[in-house]
Symmetry: none
Subunit: 106 residues, 4 copies
Amino acid sequence: MGVMTAKDIVAKRNAAKPAEPGIGHNSRPTLAAKDQLKAFVERVERLEEEKKALADDIRDIFAEAKGNGFDTKALRVIVRMRKQDADQRRELEALVDTYAVALGMA
Amino acid sequence: MGVMTAKDIVAKRNAAKPAEPGIGHNSRPTLAAKDQLKAFVERVERLEEEKKALADDIRDIFAEAKGNGFDTKALRVIVRMRKQDADQRRELEALVDTYAVALGMA
Amino acid sequence: MGVMTAKDIVAKRNAAKPAEPGIGHNSRPTLAAKDQLKAFVERVERLEEEKKALADDIRDIFAEAKGNGFDTKALRVIVRMRKQDADQRRELEALVDTYAVALGMA
Amino acid sequence: MGVMTAKDIVAKRNAAKPAEPGIGHNSRPTLAAKDQLKAFVERVERLEEEKKALADDIRDIFAEAKGNGFDTKALRVIVRMRKQDADQRRELEALVDTYAVALGMA
DNA sequence: GAATGGTCCCATAGGC
DNA sequence: GCCTATGGGACCATTC
């Protein structure tokens, strides 16, 4: 597939933001960029692992509920509806804010 | 909110799995079922909140990386590729294990 | 960019569903496939035009409302909230259906 | 539904544009504003329904095409490319017109 | 495995 | 002119 090489990334970086002064000609900054890249990637990976763990936990809960005689599909609908309720609350507040601003009450 | 009544839940629960003995006719267990339902729903909601928080954190990291001159899209490709690598590694190990077991080497 | 040629499309088509009997070796069916492709594309384009026209009409309405002293942002929130209400209704029905099925009342 | 009162609307309306003379103190125009609001919202909703219907029709066409062995993703690319072509054509014509006008040939 | 629902990213459009 | 907000599309996980 070959979508992109590390070199491209760094090239892109220098092009996009020649931030650090005194940088040029494939010298050190590349190193720094590499380290930074590594750090970003690893932070993302760490969080995605945790995210996956949570997703697994959620699955387990549904499985447990099912084992206790609850209907998974119905449970999901309930969770979804409660989320919608929360969203609507937020929307309502947004509307109120809009009015408050428009009326000079903000 | 009140989109559904406890009675509905319990009716459904009993129908799906008349697990606990002595349950019937709107008696006490209903209460328990309701509490259980509430507990399941709240556990799921709690975890989904955490999941969303993590997703937000990840977004923030990408934003930060972008602010440091990295190309977001490219970063995502890297993360995806590394994930694939990890998956392949795991698959390979699983395969090896399978062989080991089959050969009585486990 | 070169994402896909007409040839690919047809190749894919034959591979995916060798439906018509007696087809092979780049003969007639290609022709038919081409016509069919053209027809699909044009139907889509026609509908998308209409869709765009409707979007424009909606824009006009908001502009008109604004000209009549209404706050566009607030209007949009209202429309969105009413849509959410409708969605919730649907969810509720979905939940009821799920229960009905589970209880053998479907 | 009732997320907002007519009074809110009118308050906002008057605040935003005290256009019509003689309006004030919760008198009649309130009614008119409410009706107007209702009309705007319903017109928007009506058009959005139609828009959604069209979107569904488009989906159906893609599904039908898929059922005939075409690759949906590829089809979308084709539609997109043709749209770009059309846009470029339009731009070119606009450019030509501009020149024509500038040269007194319009 | 087919289909459905959910999540996420991007691209465009609209407002300030 | 930027910048947010919204809609559309792709992808992934789950269900039957």
